[in-house]
Symmetry: C2
DNA sequence: CAAAACTACGTAGTTAAATACATAAATAAA
DNA sequence: TTTATTTATGTATTTAACTACGTAGTTTTG
């Protein structure tokens, strides 16, 4: 549509956001088709706890790549679903140790075949010539080395 | 990090959202370095009006690819900045015809060199081997033909 | 070992988008 | 020409992330 947005990243993020919303809805419906009441957004936390067993709030946040406040709100939902539980760390009283409940573990067993299907469908969609993940990694790496602002200011001063 | 999120699109959208937030902040700072008070999110509307002169709310929404409520809130901000104005369409009384104010047009003249710099920096960042835009286009196209849910249900029934 | 700095967690508030709903004007159909 | 449908706009609410801030433990340092 235009010089900056079309070639840039600003509008792209809106499109990806929509894409992911669509996938979330479809994901939820697909779980439902197996008789499972599970929201795709819970997946990262549940999957992490499935492998790590016991983790603190901040540890989970780091694992799933969200800020801790975002993580806390996911944990609240999962606690309401009785899929996870938490108790104070006796060694470090600031920490809350989170783990799956038996109900949570049972659910994972039921969900595993669902995940397999989802996983291959997502591969089908995202594995393009122009790999989405790769493209983002490359852009992020470039910005890590030098921010947009730094690059822009430099170009400005060169004129 | 895991089978679905790392290879899929769910986490990718969060990362892109962050990327775009970063770019927005830097963009605003870069405008400021020219003494210009302009938020990058206003760009699509302003740029569209620069080329089309007079448009209704829904027409702008379609041009920039947002829903009309989102567009309305952008328009409100721009009106507060006195960069745009609107009047009722005499032919169709439902329509509000939006256009740039003289102040808005002056601002565009000042912003043009800034846009040139931004545009080349964004090219530098986004033009990777794995082109971001291309990758998204390909994923969207695939999903247009057959949704995630349809693909998943089909795979499920084949088992 | 007391003061300072850091870490873990939690809450409140913000943001940029979306949906869902409401109203009024214009057009089409009975 | 009334009635039904569609279109344009607007408002209210929701969502998923964020930042900013506060408090309470823990660790480091003078």
């Amino acid at each position: 549509m235009n010089i900056i947005d079309e070639s840039g990243i600003l509008a792209i993020s809106t499109r990806l956001q929509r894409l992911s919303e669509q996938l979330r809805k479809d994901g939820a419906l697909f779980y439902k088709s197996y008789g499972i009441d599970f929201e795709p957004k819970w997946f990262p936390v549940v999957y992490t706890l499935h492998h790590k067993e016991v983790l603190s709030v901040v540890e989970i946040a780091n694992e799933i790549g969200y800020t801790h406040p975002s993580t806390i709100s996911l944990l609240k939902e999962l606690e309401k679903q009785k899929l996870i539980r938490s108790k104070k760390d006796k060694v470090d009283e600031r920490k809350r140790l989170i783990s799956l409940t038996p109900k949570g573990q049972e659910l994972i067993v039921k969900m595993k075949p669902v995940w397999d299907v989802m996983s291959s469908v997502l591969k089908e969609i995202a594995d393009n010539q122009n790999n989405l993940l790769q493209a983002i990694n490359e852009a992020e790496t470039k910005l890590m080395h030098q921010s947009f602002l730094q690059r822009a200011l430099q170009l400005k001063s060169e004129e």
